[in-house]
């Protein structure tokens, strides 16, 4: 993983703009409600994961105790608090997908990328999120999310096409 990414300290104007958009949705003094949205914005602009510096910057910008932000960042599964690959793949393996063959999809992707669920490729390109829970796309199982885009009715051919594109 490139070290310069982790050195991102402070919030860009773009992140601040997005945080401001969240803050106005809540009553005055209730801006703690904006933490989740703010962390989404910060993570997106930091290639998919949060650093302690970024979390601190969000807390400081919102003028909230830093612990509030850490609590949220560590509770919700969409927030990554360790460096991960730039492109996130999350394969649903819950009941409907399991019945529709998600195990084969997981096995194929692990083999092709030569990493296990929860790991990132050595070049920092792809992060294979640890076993994903139901993503509400059950009628078009099996499915996965690639950078939060839903890709449904998966088969090996479709998976290969997506991986080819990501590896270009």
């Amino acid at each position: 993983m490139s070290t310069e990414i982790t050195e991102t300290v402070g919030l860009t104007e773009k992140i601040k703009e997005k945080i401001d958009m969240w803050v106005v949705k809540f009553p005055v003094g209730k801006h703690r409600s904006a933490i989740i949205g703010s962390l989404h914005a910060a993570q997106e602009h930091n290639q998919g994961y949060l650093t302690p510096e970024l979390m601190d910057a969000v807390a400081d910008y919102l003028d909230l105790p830093r612990i509030y932000v850490y609590e949220v960042a560590t509770f919700y599964s969409m927030f990554q608090t360790e460096p991960v690959g730039r492109n996130e793949i999350a394969i649903c393996t819950n009941i409907s997908c399991m019945l529709s063959g998600s195990d084969v999809i997981v096995q194929h992707i692990e083999d092709r990328l030569n990493i296990k669920l929860g790991e990132s490729t050595k070049d920092g390109n792809i992060f294979l999120k640890k076993e994903e829970e139901c993503l509400a796309a059950c009628t078009r199982a099996p499915m996965m999310m690639v950078n939060h885009q839903y890709i449904e009715n998966l088969n090996i051919k479709k998976v290969n096409e997506i991986l080819d594109k990501l590896e270009q």
């Binding site: 949705k25 009553p27 209730k30 801006h31 703690r32 409600s33 904006a34 933490i35 989740i36 949205g37 962390l39 989404h40 509030y68 609590e71 949220v72 509770f75 919700y76 599964s77 969409m78 927030f79 393996t93 819950n94 009941i95 409907s96 399991m98 019945l99 529709s100 076993e131 829970e133 139901c134 993503l135 509400a136 796309a137 059950c138 009628t139 078009r140 199982a141 999310m145 950078n147 939060h148 885009q149 839903y150």
Partner: protein
């Protein structure tokens, strides 16, 4: 099928059904405008609540609580009140709210506006599941902007003196936030840990103010019910379960899909609607209402109708109407192991029986599938499940216990066989 697509899906086959123009061309927002242009006072509020009450609409999020009754619990005080929509769809097997958000977002917005007015809640939040961030969140965001641009939301709407501001909120991945008090905590920017009840949200909700939380499908049903009336609604479904429901049929069927059908539809008809069993296989089992409801063997569900009463008397529950169909040849032990893993990783960590117990359940099932199980493990599994059930703040603990209890009850011999044969499945 009769009454198919009568409510939430009534307009989704129109071109670009998610757009405000398309919704309006199908009569959308007429009910909301009629309320605003009438005499929007206490009497009008009461009329709406009475209509919803007598329509028999029940919460579609899983619990099936009568919606009108829930609305009537809101205090008639002058303090700030809130309406919150639970669009945190994450019960495994369930995917109809996502379909509403994608295909009929304006029905939800109109439903929220009407519900907000009826309860004098001038602010609404639509809590959308975090993972929908690039999927249907942009659609519901655009819909909201369009509704504001058409002056159907905001302050003094169409000069009526009625205020209703609506905002979309985005979660960040936590199944527990589907529990209404966990959702409120999350909306306040905290970890999604359920609150003790009472006080109920109607008295102490978001920011400590009176709040009603309803599910997406429930709220999106409201405009049609107001338009057609409660008698019309009661004319569909059964006496105790009126109306229609969107069934998410998944698993081993030929045509998995979301089917809006009247409640009380025979299971056999629903299965047929979903194209029948995949590859002509024999039906083994069905999880009838999302992963948290008890599994029913094929011969039991075969005689059921899909409504609250029938499924309860068969020993399971209607839940979210997510029907997971399982064919002969499926290993029930592996299925339960995967199920238990879900509750193990998704529990919020607040109550000891659930936090510790779900780990016990998952590890015991791992041991059995790895061929290291002992005969006594089956009694231990049920014992642990029984100690979780009823001993936690929210229903998550029960949801973790029910699959274990029901899988072992109905498929005991499969578990026994695997234990006696070093992890070999009898089903495979």
């Amino acid at each position: 099928m009769r009454h198919e697509n009568s409510i939430c899906f009534s307009n989704i086959h129109q071109p670009e059904s998610w757009k405000i123009e398309s919704y309006m061309a199908s009569g959308g927002y007429l009910q909301w405008k009629k309320i605003l242009q009438g005499q929007p006072g206490d009497k009008a509020r009461q009329t709406i609540i009475e209509t919803v009450k007598s329509s028999g609409l029940r919460g579609r999020g899983g619990a099936g609580f009568p919606t009108g009754l829930k609305w009537s619990f809101m205090p008639k005080t002058d303090e700030q009140k809130y309406l919150v929509c639970n669009s945190d769809e994450s019960e495994p097997g369930t995917c109809h709210d996502r379909e509403i958000l994608k295909l009929n977002p304006h029905a939800l917005i109109e439903g929220m506006a009407i519900a907000g007015f009826a309860m004098d809640a001038t602010v609404g939040y639509n809590y959308v599941r975090g993972e929908f961030i690039k999927d249907c969140y942009p659609i519901i965001e655009l819909a909201l902007q369009d509704a504001y641009a058409s002056q159907l939301l905001g302050k003094n709407i169409l000069g009526s003196g009625v205020n209703f501001d609506l905002y979309n909120f985005l979660g960040a991945g936590a199944y527990i936030c589907g529990e209404e008090t966990a959702l409120l905590e999350s909306l306040e920017g905290k970890q999604g840990k359920p609150r003790f009840k009472p006080p109920f949200p109607a008295n102490f909700g978001v920011y400590g103010m009176p709040t009603t939380v309803n599910n997406t499908q429930t709220l999106a049903s409201v405009p049609k019910i107001i338009e057609q009336g409660s008698e019309w609604h009661k004319g569909m479904g059964t006496d105790k379960s009126p109306g229609t429901n969107i069934f998410s049929v998944t698993g081993h069927v030929n045509k998995p899909g979301n089917y809006e059908l009247p409640l009380g539809v025979p299971f056999a008809d629903l299965l047929e609607r979903a194209g029948g069993m995949m590859d002509g296989k024999k039906l083994k089992a069905v999880i009838p209402g999302g992963l948290s409801t008890k599994v029913l063997p094929g011969d039991v569900i075969a005689d059921c109708t899909m409504d609250y009463e029938s499924l309860a008397s068969a020993g399971s529950a209607f839940g979210t109407g997510a029907v997971v169909v399982i064919a002969e040849g499926t290993c029930m032990v592996e299925l339960l192991k995967r199920t238990s893993r879900f509750y193990y990783v998704e529990n919020c960590g607040q109550c000891t029986p659930c936090r510790e117990g779900t780990g016990w359940l998952y590890r015991l099932l791992q041991k059995i599938t790895q061929g290291k199980g002992k005969e006594s493990d089956l009694a231990l599994l049920v014992d642990v499940a029984n100690r979780i059930e009823g001993n936690t703040i929210c229903a998550f603990g029960d949801a973790a216990a029910w699959p274990v209890q029901s899988f072992i009850e109905h498929y005991f011999s499969e578990f026994e066989y695997m234990i006696n044969n070093h992890g070999k499945s009898i089903a495979a």
